[in-house]
């Protein structure tokens, strides 16, 4: 069941009261998160059904054009620009999501977003903005206009979602709450998983490269990814280690361009069309040219 707004307001006042009393309250991040969980009554949030994810890369939002799906710090992310905006216009909306293995993990992500708020009061609920999002939803009203919204965050089963207005002064009329409802509906449109069924993830069937390459000479990477619903997976590459280089798609094939000598770890994260991910790494030694 959803926590009602009145209860949240009371908890917020209690939080403020603890401040006014000069209490030496929570210090560490974990303690702060605990207080946030209490402030928002997380224990009262119901656990929604598990689904295979959110097809964010294919999502269509009214009046907006979506860019390619990306992975940023463990979250899938997609930027949207107004359909009638000039080509070089910046994004108006950014949608971030976590397709977790459990509803609890998705709720934890929503708590983390809420824990970032420096205001001492609880954020208003989704219902105050005329929408009913998932099992818990909150809104960041903006001072840029009477109905301007800076962000909306919610959890639907094992999917946590946050919509950010990328320029709330310029796009004060962006109907963030209604757009969030479209995203929520896209999650709900996926069939719930059977009891005990794991959230499906892409499979990196092949990922290989030569054990040793020469700096300055591109090396082919063998890559094959199976998407859990037969869609198109996206790719995220990370290069770590003493050596250096980058990965690019050239003439339809992935290639590693070594630019610094030493061992490197190339990590491929495949982002499935439903937002889940799989990761594999290969070790390559980059020799001097």
């Amino acid at each position: 069941m959803k926590k009602n707004a009145k209860m949240k307001a009371l908890l917020g006042l209690a939080f403020l009261a603890s401040l006014a009393g000069g209490a030496h309250a929570q210090v560490t991040f974990d303690e702060h998160v605990s207080s946030v969980r209490e402030l928002y009554g997380v224990e009262q949030w119901s656990l929604g059904s598990l689904r295979d994810g959110l097809t964010l890369g294919e999502l269509e939002l009214p009046g907006l054009l979506g860019a390619e799906l990306r992975l940023k710090d463990g979250l899938i992310e997609r930027a949207f620009t107004p359909a009638d905006a000039p080509k070089d216009a910046g994004s108006a909306l950014i949608v971030q999501a976590l397709v977790a293995d459990s509803a609890e993990a998705a709720q934890d992500q929503l708590v983390l977003w809420l824990a970032g708020l420096t205001s001492p009061t609880a954020a208003p609920t989704d219902s105050e903005f005329g929408v009913d999002l998932g099992q818990a939803g909150y809104v960041g009203p903006s001072g840029s206009g009477p109905r301007a919204v800076s962000w909306v965050a919610f959890v639907q089963g094992n999917v946590a979602v946050r919509l950010l207005n990328a320029d709330v002064e310029k796009h004060a009329a962006l109907p963030l709450a209604r757009l969030a409802a479209v995203v929520d509906a896209a999650v709900v449109a996926r069939d719930p998983l059977a009891t005990g069924q794991a959230v499906p993830k892409p499979e990196i069937a092949t990922f290989g490269a030569a054990a040793s390459v020469v700096a300055g000479r591109p090396a082919a990477l063998a890559v094959a990814v199976v998407d859990p619903r037969g869609g198109a997976a996206a790719f995220d590459w990370k290069i770590a280690g003493e050596g250096q280089g980058y990965v690019e798609l050239r003439d339809g094939a992935w290639k590693f361009f070594p630019t610094g000598v030493g061992p490197v770890t190339i990590t491929l994260t495949a982002i499935g069309s439903t937002g889940t991910t799989a990761t594999r790494s290969v070790e390559i030694d980059v020799a001097h040219d």
């Binding site: 991040f29 930027a79 420096t118 009061t121 009203p141 980058y246």
Partner: protein, 556 residues
């Protein structure tokens, strides 16, 4: 007559080192004689100012001659480079050949003869051999100096407007100027003209692009060194060139009987001269020291070549040079990374941070050769406004409803992973103009650490009942941050002394003696003590604020 003949023999002996022939064919009483005063033995006409010169005079004093200078190659006359009258009383005459033929095309590498003689037939003739070579620098790698770890690869963060796509400048060469696609040689274009030097890449967000992909054949990326340290360069010489017909041609050296060497001229510091060189060789040497201040500067190099008869050490210049200019960012010390991070460079907008800092340094004018100066410049530049820089970094504003924002949400800092999306912030605040304290903390800790400031760490503060503050991007001091309240549920700031002193780029405190009310007197939080009447704890909040140290964030 004996004396004259002897003089002629002496003249031959002097000039033969540079290769010359002097003949005297007219009756002795009036026989004019061409005397060489030196000429270019080895030339690369494609260098800036390159070509060949010959200087000569006519003897004896009473002699007069209508003369010409022609260049001959294997297939005959290449070009007439000079005609004129010579008199034995004139000062020596210098003629120049720019290395082109009668059509204005550069000649191929090989052996040529510059012939000076009487115009129209009989008379003295002087043949001066010229070897045309193709020589130049195609790659430059900046390296650690000696055993020091003082040079790093910088990182860009955008690709075709998308942030969070990282590209480190290649460690194997920051400067590359080589052929691409169907081109024939590294040193020349396909019409035989020299490939121009690559200008320093001045964009700070995106690397050099070739369509959608990173360029691999021509770029000139910035280098990063510790301020006040030595530099080391490794340069690679081109091997061969392209003829005017578009065909590949050899370098034309080594030239029998002569050594060639590379000379690097620096505006400051000691110049370098190599040993004998060969086409395609790689040559490493120490370069000039870097400036002592943290910021941006430039390394200019004039690449020249010299030749000498083998083993003689009597070096003469190959006329001309090719110049390169390299953007240099100096750091306070080695960049600092998040604990456990793997790799030799930040996966973050390193060039952008260094350039921002350099720009702030230019405007603020604080000495940035010390860590104190670096921190002061960073805080004042990041916050802007009261520092004289009109706006905060990227024009951000504190995330409060009063200013148009919301309840102080993280837009760029991830509370869960403790990582900072500095790329999005520096990409024209791609995730929104409004920032909260964690966003500012994340940018400040990672930015200062990239610049080499030691022990930079976040401090998480507990709830605060605020006094007057000036939030970043705000128009003035306020005591009603949220309209209805003036407090924080938490606050994120920075320290480099484990909390004894603190740094806050998110807001200024009020130093007018009444910190709880407005108006306020701006007080910078540049290593401000935590305790005491001017301390952060007292000036920022009316409650006793708790604090806990956290670890340096990472980037994504």
């Amino acid at each position: 007559m004996t004396k004259i003949r002897k003089a002629a023999v002496l003249a031959c002996s002097f000039a033969l080192g540079l290769g010359t022939v002097v003949t005297a064919q007219l009756p002795t009483a009036v026989r004019p004689m061409l005397v060489s005063d030196g000429h270019t033995r080895i030339a690369d006409p494609k260098l800036d100012g390159g070509g060949a010169e010959a200087t000569f005079h006519l003897a004896p004093a009473g002699a007069q001659l209508s003369a010409r200078a022609d260049v001959y190659g294997a297939s005959g006359l290449v070009k007439t480079v000079w005609t004129g009258a010579l008199s034995g009383t004139d000062a020596p005459t210098t003629v120049a050949w720019d290395g082109t033929d009668a059509s204005g095309n550069f000649v191929d590498t090989g052996d040529y003869m510059l012939r000076v003689g009487a115009n129209g037939g009989a008379g003295p003739v002087m043949n001066l051999p010229v070897s045309v070579v193709r020589i130049g620098v195609t790659e430059i790698e900046f390296q650690d100096s000696g055993t020091a770890d003082n040079e790093w690869q910088m990182v860009y963060f955008k690709k075709n407007t998308q942030d969070g796509v990282f590209f480190a400048t290649p460690a194997i060469h920051e400067y590359v100027n080589v052929k691409s696609g169907l081109e024939v040689s590294d040193l020349d274009l396909n019409d035989g003209t020299p490939r121009p030097a690559v200008a320093a890449h001045t964009a700070t967000d995106e690397p050099v692009m070739d369509g959608f992909n990173y360029a691999t054949d021509r770029y000139n990326y910035p280098v990063a060194y510790v301020a006040g340290s030595a530099t080391r360069l490794e340069v690679t010489l081109g091997d061969g060139g392209t003829s005017a017909s578009g065909a590949a041609m050899p370098s034309g050296y080594p030239v029998a009987g002569f050594d060639l060497r590379l000379v690097a001229d620096f505006p400051v510091g000691t110049d370098f001269a190599s040993g004998p060189i060969t086409p395609g060789a790689a040559i490493a040497f120490d370069g000039p020291p870097t400036p002592r201040a943290v910021g941006r500067s430039q390394i200019d190099v004039s690449w020249r070549f010299e030749y000498a008869p083998s083993g003689s050490g009597a070096w003469s210049p190959v006329l001309g040079s090719s110049d390169t200019s390299h953007r240099l960012y100096t750091l306070l010390d080695a960049p600092k990374f998040k604990a456990g991070a793997s790799g030799t460079q930040y996966v973050g907008p390193w060039v952008e941070v260094a350039e921002n800092f350099a720009s702030w340094g230019d405007q603020i004018g604080v000495d940035t050769s010390t860590s104190d100066g670096v921190v002061e410049t960073f805080v004042k530049g990041f916050f802007g406004q009261n520092s004289g820089i009109p706006t905060a970094i990227e024009g951000v504003k504190y995330d409060t409803t009063v200013l148009g924002g919301d309840g102080g949400a993280n837009h760029y800092f991830s509370a869960g992973s403790k990582n900072m999306d500095l790329s999005a912030l520096l990409n024209a605040h791609a995730k929104g103009q409004f920032v909260n304290c964690s966003d500012c903390m994340g940018a400040t800790t990672t930015g200062l650490s990239m610049l080499g400031v030691a022990n930079i760490r976040p401090i998480r503060l507990g709830p605060m009942t605020l006094k007057a503050i000036w939030g970043i991007g705000s128009p003035a001091y306020t005591t009603t941050l949220w309209g209805f309240a003036h407090s924080f549920s938490y606050h994120h700031i920075v320290t480099r002394t484990n909390g004894i002193d603190v740094i806050d780029t998110c807001m200024q405190l009020d130093e007018d003696g009444t910190p709880g009310s407005i108006p306020g007197l701006p007080g910078w939080n540049v290593d401000r003590p935590w305790d005491g009447p001017d301390g952060y704890n007292f000036l920022s909040a009316s409650n006793d604020v708790s604090k806990s140290l956290e670890q340096l964030p990472g980037l994504f």
